[in-house]
Symmetry: C2
Subunit: 396 residues, 2 copies
C-alpha cells in the first residue's frame, strides 16, 4: 500500500461529522435544502458581524497590499499580537505582551503546533470525554496517543476521580475544552482548581510539566451569564488556544491564536518551538489579511441571542417530546441521550426524517448524539414537526 500505516487507520475511521455533513449536502440536492435539518457541523449561521466587513474595507483602503497580503514574522504581525495581548489582559487581568502570542490557523492549527513540539512517539495526551474527535487525530499526526478519561454522565463536568490513574511518565498534556463541544457544559472555576491540585501533585511525581491545553473557541458563547474561568489564571502550565471561527462566524478563514504565559515551565523553549512548528507544518503564518481583521474586532461580542433562541426553543420542544437532554450553558451543541442503546440506530432513524445528528461515539460518549444548533432559527422551527415524527418512533 502507498498510504502510510498511521494514515490508513485515520482514513478508515475518518470524520463521522464531515461524512454526515457531505451526506446532508447530497440529501439537500435530492429533497430540497429546506427539507433537510442538518445539525451535523459547527458551522455558525449567525451572520458575520458588520465589523468584519468594515475592517476588511478599512485595511484594504489604508494599508499597502504587499503588507496586507505579504509575509510577516512566522508568529504573526507584531501589532496584531500586541492587540491580542492587550485584549486578553483587559478581560482576564493577565500580563501578556506580543511575545506571548502566536497567531495560528485556528485553534486546530495551534493544537497541532503544540503536539508537533512536545510529543515524541507514544507520548500521551489526555482528553476528558465527551471530547472533539479530531483531538485523537491531531495527537496521532506526530505519533502521540490520546488517552480518554471516561465521561461523568451524571454531571458532564471533568471526571477528576478517574484522572490520576491515567497519568504517567508518558503524559505530556491534558486538553480542557471549555465550554465543551459536544455537551455545551461549562467547567466551573471549582472544577479547574481541583484539576490544578491533581496536576501539581502529578507533576511532582512524574518529574516533568503536564501542560493544560485550554481549547476555548466557545468561550464567548455563554448563556445566562455563567462565568467561564480563564484557565491560565488558575493553572500555571496552561497554553490558551483560541479561534475566531465561532464568535465572528469565520470558520473557513482559519484564524486564531495561542497565548503562552512567560510563567509556564520551559517558556523560552516552548514558545520558540511553537513558532518553528507553525512554520514547518506548512502553515508558515496565520492568514495575513484575517490577522489584521481580527485585531480590529477583538471587542466584537458573539451573537449570543441568536444561538440562545435556538437553544431555548429546541431544549423546550425536545424535552417535551420525551428526549433526555444535557442542558447546555455554552457553545452551540447539545447532547441528546439516544432512546436506543446503539445511538447509530437513532442517527439512522433521524435521517429517515432528514434530521442529521452525529453519534457521540466519535466524541467518546456512546449512547448519546450531538446536535449542533448553530443553524438558522427558521430551520430550527421547521425541524420541529420532523423531530415529533422521530420522537413518535420511540415514545409515541
Amino acid at each position: 500500500m502507498v498510504i502510510s500505516k498511521n494514515m490508513e487507520k485515520l482514513v478508515a475511521g475518518s470524520s463521522t461529522i464531515r461524512k454526515l455533513f457531505e451526506e446532508g449536502l447530497q440529501m439537500a440536492q435530492q429533497v430540497g435544502a429546506e427539507n433537510v435539518y442538518d445539525f451535523s457541523l459547527g458551522n455558525p449561521a449567525s451572520p458575520v458581524p458588520t465589523e468584519v466587513r468594515d475592517a476588511i474595507n478599512d485595511i484594504l483602503e489604508n494599508t499597502e497590499g504587499n503588507v496586507v497580503h505579504g509575509y510577516m514574522k512566522n508568529a504573526g504581525y507584531d501589532n496584531v499580537r500586541q492587540a491580542v495581548a492587550d485584549s486578553l489582559n483587559k478581560k482576564n487581568g493577565t500580563s501578556y505582551t506580543k511575545e506571548n502570542i502566536i497567531m495560528t490557523c485556528g485553534a486546530a492549527g495551534g493544537m497541532n503546533c503544540v503536539f508537533r513540539s512536545i510529543l515524541d512517539t507514544d507520548d500521551e495526551v489526555i482528553a476528558f470525554a465527551p471530547f472533539f474527535g479530531e483531538y485523537r487525530n491531531y495527537a496521532n499526526n506526530y505519533g502521540g496517543k490520546l488517552v480518554v478519561v471516561p465521561a461523568d454522565t451524571d454531571t458532564f463536568q471533568l471526571n477528576l476521580k478517574e484522572l490520576p490513574r491515567l497519568i504517567n511518565k508518558k503524559t505530556k498534556c491534558i486538553i480542557v475544552n471549555n465550554p465543551n463541544n459536544p455537551s455545551g457544559v461549562i467547567y466551573t472555576a471549582e472544577t479547574i482548581k481541583k484539576l490544578n491540585d491533581i496536576l501539581v501533585n502529578a507533576e511532582k511525581k512524574i518529574g516533568h510539566p503536564i501542560y493544560v491545553l485550554a481549547d476555548e473557541p466557545y468561550r464567548e458563547l455563554v448563556y445566562g451569564g455563567q462565568d467561564v474561568p480563564y484557565i491560565p489564571n488558575i493553572i500555571k502550565n496552561s497554553i490558551f488556544l483560541y479561534s475566531f471561527s465561532k464568535t465572528l462566524s469565520l470558520p473557513g478563514e482559519r484564524i486564531g491564536y495561542m497565548a503562552v504565559s512567560s510563567d509556564v515551565d520551559y517558556y523560552d523553549e516552548l514558545i520558540n518551538a511553537f513558532i518553528v512548528a507553525n512554520r514547518c507544518l506548512g502553515f508558515v503564518n496565520a492568514p495575513s489579511l484575517f490577522q489584521l481583521v481580527v485585531s480590529k474586532c477583538l471587542d466584537v461580542p458573539a451573537n449570543i441571542a441568536f444561538y440562545d433562541a435556538n437553544r431555548t426553543l429546541l431544549y423546550k420542544e425536545l424535552t417535551e417530546m420525551g428526549f433526555d437532554i444535557v442542558k447546555p450553558d455554552g457553545a452551540f451543541y447539545m447532547l441528546i441521550k439516544s432512546p436506543t442503546q446503539d445511538e447509530e440506530e437513532f442517527v439512522a432513524m433521524g435521517k429517515k426524517y432528514h434530521i442529521i445528528l452525529v453519534p457521540a461515539k466519535s466524541f467518546g460518549c456512546p449512547g448519546y448524539v450531538r446536535l449542533a444548533y448553530c443553524v438558522s432559527n427558521d430551520m430550527i422551527k421547521r425541524s420541529i414537526p420532523a423531530f415529533k415524527k422521530l420522537a413518535a418512533e420511540y415514545f409515541g
Copy 2:
C-alpha cells in the same frame, strides 16, 4: 526536556532564512530601512494585482458572508476546484475535474498533506540540491527522511547520474521544484523525460510507485519565454503542487492547491488521504475568502517585467564586479558563487554593508549564497554601491 527529540533538532537548525529576515528588520530599525538591502526572503515586492482587490470587493458584495467565510468541504469549494481544473486543462491539455483538485494552505500545506499521507517512519523523500531547506523539515514532521542528490554545479539541471543509487525500497517520492528555488534554473522537458525513464525502471525494481511532487509556485515566473514543462504530462505518478503566493504577491494568505490526476497509481486512496490530512493537520480547509479570490484571478499573469528588470540589472552589475553567478531563467532568486570557500564568511561580510544574503548550505549547496531579487527596483539600484564595496573586499 519538554520539547520532543525530533523537534529539538529542528529548532536547533531552524530556518537561516527566517533568522536573517528578522535580523534585517532589526538592522532597519537601527540604520533606517532605506539603508538595508535585504535579499533574504521570497516575499514578492511586485504590487498585488488590482484584480485581487476587485475580486475581494466583488465577492463581499455578491456572496453571503456565511458562505464567503464559512466551512465548505475540506477539499475546498466545488466551484473553485472546478475553476482550477478548467484553468489547468486549458493551459496544459489535461483533463482534470474538481475531484482532482484540493485547495491547500499554499504549496507548503499541500506538501505536508502528501508527506502526512504517504510517509511511515524512516521512509525517504529525495530532493535534488540545491533545494528549499524546508523540505527536510516537512518530511521530518512525520518521521520521514530527506535524501539529497548532490548538485550538478556545472549545469544546475537535475543531477540524474547520481539519482539511481539513491533509490531504494524506502523511497516514497521525489521533489522537483521547477523553476528552482534557489538557482532560478528551469528543468527542461528533456531532463524531465530522462527522470521519467529512471523512475519507471526504479518503480519496477522496488515494486511500488515513486511519486514526483512537482512543486511549482514559480511556474509563471519565467524570463525570455522559456518553456516550463508540465510534469504530470510527462510523468504519470506526479502530484502537482501550486501556490498563488508568488504570482499574485499573496504569500501571507496561504493559498494554493494540489492537482492529482486520476491516472496516478492508487488514485482513490491518495486523494482521499490527502483530503483527510488537510483536515487533520489543522488546516481544515484552505482559507475560504482567498479560495474564492484566486478562482477569479486564474488568468492574471505574473508581473514578469517587474522581476526581470531586477534580474537583468543585478546580473549585469554583479558579474561586471567579478561575481560568478548562475544565470536564472525563472523564479526570483539567483545563486552567487561565494568568493571565499566558506560562504558564511561571505554572508557575514555582506552584513557589514547591510546586504543580507542567505548561505546556500541550507539549500544543500555550500559555497554559494542565495539572493532573492523579489524586492523593489529602487532597492536594487540603491544596493549597487554597497555591492561594489562588498566586491572590493574580494576582487578590489
